[in-house]
């Protein structure tokens, strides 16, 4: 193994050197297997390494682009701003943190919601942005997700939520915890109204988000090798003081223990979703055709 890595390194060195002469960002190096390929090809492969199948993180907007029908996504008006109800201070004050995440992502908080089409099926969609505070859920994320569920209920449209989150947002304290209750309450109503809810878990989906809406889909799909669980692996390791089993809390492990329905490669995710929508919500497609005919 050591030999293999070393060998690989020496082989790749000239290529890396070559990068100096070519525009930045033209090449991508896989963070898992160090395979190098053109960034353009990497993007075409949906940010998945063709060699080791490492599923890289995808920004919220890119995720929307690769999941829903082209040009079909209409974002909700971005009218909710996070605030600092606890006047939280740690090494930095929370308001400053928020501003820096907002600059970094162009979003007001860690989720994009809207309406979209997936293989012609009209769906309400929520996509979490991990680059915003680790996709953590505070009041705004909880409210936007809840409103998405409510829209899905009101318009009788299936809903898809693509999760990526380290859990509840500490800086909003108990209010973040209450978002777990608020979102789950909205799901209870959706279930009663028999409206399908598909959850997609991407790396990582843990803690407060996993212990609320991420775990409550009618069908739960996950990308390969995503970290999925309640407690973080480091906390568990510290608590039990023993080595964690191989693959622990990864998608396949969680599926094998019965808590994820399907693990699917990113390239097949869309088709899996379309199949499920065709089983659960054929009306979501018809509805669209009827309304476009009447226009």
């Amino acid at each position: 193994m050591t030999w293999f890595r070393k060998r690989k390194y020496t082989v790749l060195k000239p290529t890396e050197k070559k990068r100096v002469d070519i525009p930045d960002g033209l090449w991508h190096k896989c963070q898992q297997c160090l395979h190098i390929l053109l960034a353009r090809d990497y993007e075409k492969n949906l940010w998945v390494c063709p060699k080791c199948n490492f599923h890289d993180r995808v920004s919220g907007w890119d995720r929307i682009g690769i999941t829903f029908d082209p040009e079909s996504f209409i974002a909700d008006e971005d009218i909710l701003d996070p605030t600092d109800p606890l006047e939280f201070f740690d090494t930095m004050n929370y308001m400053d943190r928020l501003v820096s995440y907002q600059k970094k992502t162009g979003l007001k908080d860690a989720v994009i919601t809207g309406i979209a089409k997936c293989g012609g099926y009209k769906v309400v969609a929520g996509v979490m942005e991990f680059n915003f505070a680790g996709g953590s859920m505070g009041s705004v994320v909880g409210e936007k997700i809840t409103r998405a569920f409510e829209r899905s209920l009101k318009e009788r449209l299936p809903i898809v939520i693509i999760c990526a989150s380290g859990g509840a947002r500490m800086q909003e304290g108990i209010l973040s915890l209450m978002q777990m209750a608020k979102t789950s309450m909205a799901i209870a109503r959706l279930n009663e109204a028999k409206i399908p809810y598909i959850t997609v878990l991407t790396h990582p989906t843990t803690a407060g988000v996993m212990a609320s809406y991420a775990s409550l889909g009618d069908v739960i799909i996950a990308e390969p090798n995503a970290l999925i669980g309640f407690a973080g692996p480091r906390v568990i390791q510290q608590t039990i003081n023993q080595i964690l089993p191989k693959g622990f809390q990864r998608s396949e492990f969680v599926r094998d223990h019965g808590f994820i329905d399907i693990v699917t490669n990113r390239k097949d995710l869309r088709n899996t979703m379309i199949n499920l929508l065709s089983f659960f919500a054929p009306w979501a497609r018809e509805k669209e055709e009827v309304s476009s005919q009447s226009q």
Binding site: I79, L80, D81, P82, T83, P85, L86, F88, F89, D90, T91, G138, S139, V140, G142, E143, T146, A168, M170, E172, G173, I174, L175, L177, M178, Q179, M180, A181, K182, S184, M185, I187, A188, R189, N191, E192, T206, A207, G208, M210, A211, S212, Y213, A214, S215, L216, G229, F230, A231, G232, V235, I236, T239, I240, L244, P245, F248, Q249, H257, F259
Partner: protein, 321 residues
């Protein structure tokens, strides 16, 4: 046996020792006057100290080993207490007790997270940290309660849901999420009282209710002060500061609209006078219960949804039309 005391209680402990020294010489002339003066001073010192507890001190009081735990309250408040066990699926999680009893003329379902009084009992009770089977056991019992129209009373006291291999393998997150959702569908009153620690999803997993009561020296938060300190400051020793930042005390939570009532404790904490604590808790529960049992089930469900629908703080810029 003397109660374990905290550093901030030192002045109280010293005064109490002085008084007990004097009491042993009670027959000497002038002693009773001295005792009386010291007792007044003790009372004043207690009020001074206990009314100004910092959030971190409160967390410590909430964790006091001698503090009454769920079964102490349950056994003194409910008659005909009948415990039932197991999730009918995997195991009986001893970190949570479930059963039925009567409070006044009202039969109820009772659930409580249970810590131990000593290390041995704590090991059996897993320090009040539930596994998935505990959450499933609780929901099973709540469903029985619903079927037979019994209001549900829940005592919260946990340092968190257990972070272990088995807990993850058996779906800790799923168990908690499902409970949270399903508690919104129960058509009987749900009354929650946080008697000690209310740590995060571990508490919320049996913590959705029509009224949330909280004892004066309890805490309730999205994360423990130590957990928060180790993440944000990378130093567990910063727990005192994170306890302050997290706004986890009952007055903070009342202000944030997360709890409905603070149940007062005897001076110095429930462990200093358990019997009076049982009485206060009993009457607080009875009062709320009398109100809730009059409300029809469908109205209860709607009210509960509305209560949680409102939670959260953000700015909304209504678009101009």
């Amino acid at each position: 046996m003397a109660l374990a005391t905290f550093d901030f209680e030192k002045p109280i402990v010293e005064l109490e020792r002085e008084i007990s020294d004097l009491l042993s010489r009670e027959n000497e002339p002038g002693i009773s006057r001295k005792i009386k003066a010291l007792e007044q001073k003790l009372e004043k010192t207690k009020i001074d100290i206990y009314s100004k507890l910092t959030p971190w001190q409160r967390v410590q009081v909430a964790r006091h080993m001698a503090r009454p735990h769920s079964l102490d309250y349950i056994q003194s408040i409910f008659t005909e207490w009948t415990e039932i066990h197991g999730d009918r699926c995997f195991a009986d999680d001893m970190a949570v007790v479930t059963g039925f009893g009567n409070i006044g003329n009202q039969s109820v379902t009772v659930i409580g997270q249970q810590k131990g009084k000593d290390t041995k009992e704590n090991l059996a009770r897993n320090f009040g940290m539930m596994h998935p089977e505990g959450y499933r056991k609780a929901m099973r019992v709540m469903r029985i309660g619903e079927r037979f129209n019994l209001p549900i009373i829940i005592f919260i006291d946990t340092p968190g849901a257990y972070p272990g291999i088995g807990a993850e393998e058996r779906g800790q997150a799923e168990a908690i999420a499902r409970n949270i959702r399903d508690m919104f569908t129960l058509s009987v009153p749900i009354l929650i009282i946080i008697i000690g620690e209310g740590a995060s999803g571990g508490a919320l997993g049996i913590g959705v209710g029509d009224y949330i009561l909280m004892m004066e020296n309890a805490w309730y938060c999205v994360i423990s002060p130590e957990g928060c300190a180790s993440i944000l400051w990378r130093d567990r020793a910063m727990a005192a500061r994170s306890a302050e930042a997290l706004k986890l005390t009952p007055p903070d939570l009342l202000k944030l609209g997360v709890i409905d009532e603070i149940v007062p404790e005897p001076l110095g904490g429930a462990h200093r006078d358990p019997v009076s604590s049982f009485q206060t808790v009993r009457s607080a529960l009875e009062k709320r219960l009398q109100e809730l049992v009059k409300i029809p089930g469908d109205v209860l469900i709607e009210r509960r949804a509305q209560k949680y629908r409102k939670m959260g703080v953000f700015l909304e810029n209504k678009p101009e039309k």
